[in-house]
Subunit: 447 residues, 2 copies
């Protein structure tokens, strides 16, 4: 079953490689799915990976395996290959995969390979002109488009005479200028009487995106309308490519991972190009921002030194008050960040969201503030008013945290910044500082 396919494959492959049984390994690879081979290669050491990759006999399979590898593994394999060999593999790839591979290589290596690409160079370079992250960069140019004046019979004949096109579940219909005017699924086409003209049986005004539509937006559209592919047009509505659902799935998975990792103050880089130094370097800015906020806390507390000396119990309660604030703040910001990413949150629902998040947090803040005040009263720590101070401190900390956690991602989004990146350190830092200030001020006034 698929679950264990690749672990079985990996086990057997490694055994063959260790024993030098290259023939067995080669035959096993022939029977394996490119996706499984790629997963195994990702997990091998550099030397083993090269040895196994060289054992793949079919150039077509090599071309399918390579784009499926993680960045680090792919770079390892391509570096040290002759540009001609790389170009030979790239020539057999889907255009979008080839462009992806090239986009990730250093400029001069990519240029050397493109120089050896021959006739496909133009097609691949036309995708390379689009920066990562937009529809143009993930579309394939090998869609299936027919003139609106053809009959269903002619359309089927065209289909049968063409080689495999990657995106072949829809037939796009264009007018004489090449402008997109309709769409038909392959199945709808087969069901038509032979002499129906496409113009009369197509679905008009199909859902489309433009080359510069953000890839997250492309994913949302494919998901919302349950499409298998979405046509990409240029600014004049001329059909230039198609984004297929498998690429959309990759985008969705990557964007979700990216959002989670950004919330944690790290990036996908860390996962795809491992290395302890790089990992530390990637996480450093986020932690440094928190650190600066925390240092602000030190100064703030130092200003209340005499208060802390007379009522040392404040220090006992500081961690729980700041901790609960941090928790509530990150809850609110994660709910908002994810809502923005899935498109569930839109500007017209913003007031409702703020109301919901802050309302929920007021309820929780009251509950935990009262409980903490109760704990302080039972323990009998500090002066008489101390339970009240603690309760108020908790309430202020949780409520400011909720407000900041809800508003910051919305503000960042409105300013065009990525809410997931920005929220993490700003929310934790500002809630910490606000929590300390609130608690100390209350203590100062009431004690």
């Amino acid at each position: 079953m698929p679950q264990s396919r690749d672990s079985l494959l990996q086990g057997s492959l490694l055994r063959f490689v260790r024993r030098g049984a290259w023939d067995h390994a080669g035959r096993l690879l022939e029977k394996s799915h490119p996706a499984d081979i790629a997963r195994v290669l990702d997990r091998l050491t550099e030397a083993d990976r090269r040895a196994v990759f060289d054992l793949i006999r079919s150039p077509q399979v090599r071309a399918e395996v390579l784009p499926l590898l993680e960045f680090a593994a792919r770079a390892d394999l391509l570096v040290g290959m002759q540009p001609e060999s790389s170009a030979g593999i790239l020539q057999l790839m889907d255009t979008d995969d080839a462009a992806d591979v090239l986009r990730e290589l250093p400029r001069d290596e990519a240029d050397a390979i493109i120089g050896s690409l021959g006739e496909r160079a133009d097609e691949i370079e036309s995708l390379l002109q689009y920066p990562e992250g937009i529809a143009g960069a993930i579309m394939v140019p090998d869609y299936f488009a027919l003139n609106e004046n053809l009959t269903a019979k002619e359309a089927v004949e065209h289909l049968q005479s063409r080689g495999t096109a990657e995106a072949s579940f829809y037939v796009y219909v264009v007018d004489d200028r090449g402008y997109l005017v309709g769409v038909l699924s392959l199945r709808q086409l087969i069901m038509q009487p032979p002499y129906t003209v496409l113009r009369d049986c197509m679905v008009i005004d199909p859902i489309r995106v433009t080359v510069d539509t953000d890839q997250e937006e492309v994913a949302r559209i494919v998901a919302r309308y349950d499409l298998l592919a979405v046509p990409v047009v240029d600014s004049r509505n001329e059909l230039v490519g198609v984004v297929t659902v498998d690429d959309v799935i990759d985008v969705m998975r990557d964007e979700a991972t990216e959002d989670i990792l950004k919330l944690a103050g790290t990036t996908v880089e860390e996962v795809t190009r491992p290395g302890i130094l790089r990992g530390a370097w990637i996480r450093f800015p986020w932690l440094a921002a928190s650190f600066v906020g925390g240092a602000g806390g030190i100064f703030l507390l130092a200003r209340y030194e005499s208060l802390l000396t007379t009522t040392v119990q404040i220090a006992f309660f500081l961690p729980i008050i700041l901790g609960m604030g941090g928790n509530v703040g990150s809850q609110c910001s994660m709910v908002v960040v994810r809502g923005l990413a899935t498109g569930r949150l839109e500007l017209d629902t913003v007031p409702r969201i703020i109301l919901h998040e802050v309302g929920t947090s007021v309820l929780l803040a009251v509950t935990f503030a009262a409980t903490l005040g109760g704990v302080a009263a039972v323990l009998g720590y500090g002066p008489r008013a101390f339970p009240l101070v603690v309760a108020l401190g908790m309430f202020i900390s949780m409520l400011t945290a909720a407000t900041v956690g809800t508003l910051l991602p919305l503000i960042f989004d409105r300013l065009g910044a990525d809410p997931a990146v920005a929220s993490g350190p700003f929310v934790t830092t500002s809630t910490d500082v606000a929590g300390i200030a609130g608690f100390c001020l209350v203590a100062f006034w009431l004690l």
Copy 2:
């Protein structure tokens, strides 16, 4: 363009509804995509929603809109409808959508509707037997399966004579027992010479899942092998359904959202069934767990009261030390949780992950510990050894946090618990307590 389609639609619809221009509204709805109608309905008030839904004339469109609504909106509409009317709509739905809608209703209401369903009741109930979260619950039974002894020509004729089947981009090939033996894409079928027997042109041993495969695993398989649909077999390898890529996209999006929200200590429920009381109730357990941990911190600090009284500066540095520990801990746990969810992390890579996370964290811990020690030295707070105490406290806090943050999700996963749910409160709580204990112990020994 699609981006603004639904906001335009919503604006115009609401204007018509407010003015009582029901005719205009009805005509507008006729021209709109069901997915856009659903998004607009989600955002209306209960009364407006019912009014607009009643304006949708085509029963087919109603059946397409309803499953696309958020839970709360759907429940609002169905409650108060006669079981016969609900059944009428459900009869026109895809089987998996109908089962989904029924699964979310209270048992007695669902039974009343099933009683009115007529001949489709069996088909829909056969899906209801599978609990949510596995392949059986998201598959559709209307796939396209043909006997391996048919010719390509016969297969195309079968296809043309059948009504629309939802999952019609693949033709599944079964033997005389109904066991799945092969697959052909619609396109491959069209390209075959007419008298080729399916057995001779099909792809054998297709990738498949069983009815009880977890839906996240189904999504991983569809994503890994770039499938448009994956066949579902029972324990005897008999073909019983198909999971299509549009449902997989929904699963992926939901699972990613769920993971993020679980990490934040809340659930999808909060987003789909809003309400301040419910929101607070859902978040309560997670916060309560943190609170208990924080209360442990109070007692711990109380034990070091005399230490805190003589060296009040410890209190100044407590928030930053705990805060940085919390940050590093949640970074590690989020990286691990997401790695487990995407299948990137597997058991054989666990040692490498631990090494990477802990290695990265040691580097960061040393950096920030040294910096904090430096800050303390410059400020000249506290006794002589104080900078060393602070630095050691920071180091211990960050390193235990990293270790706990990395190991806890792995342990929960191994124990069969959901790493995303479990990690949040346990990581923050245990890092807080460990951080306090570590810092105080070091201070006690050295001062």
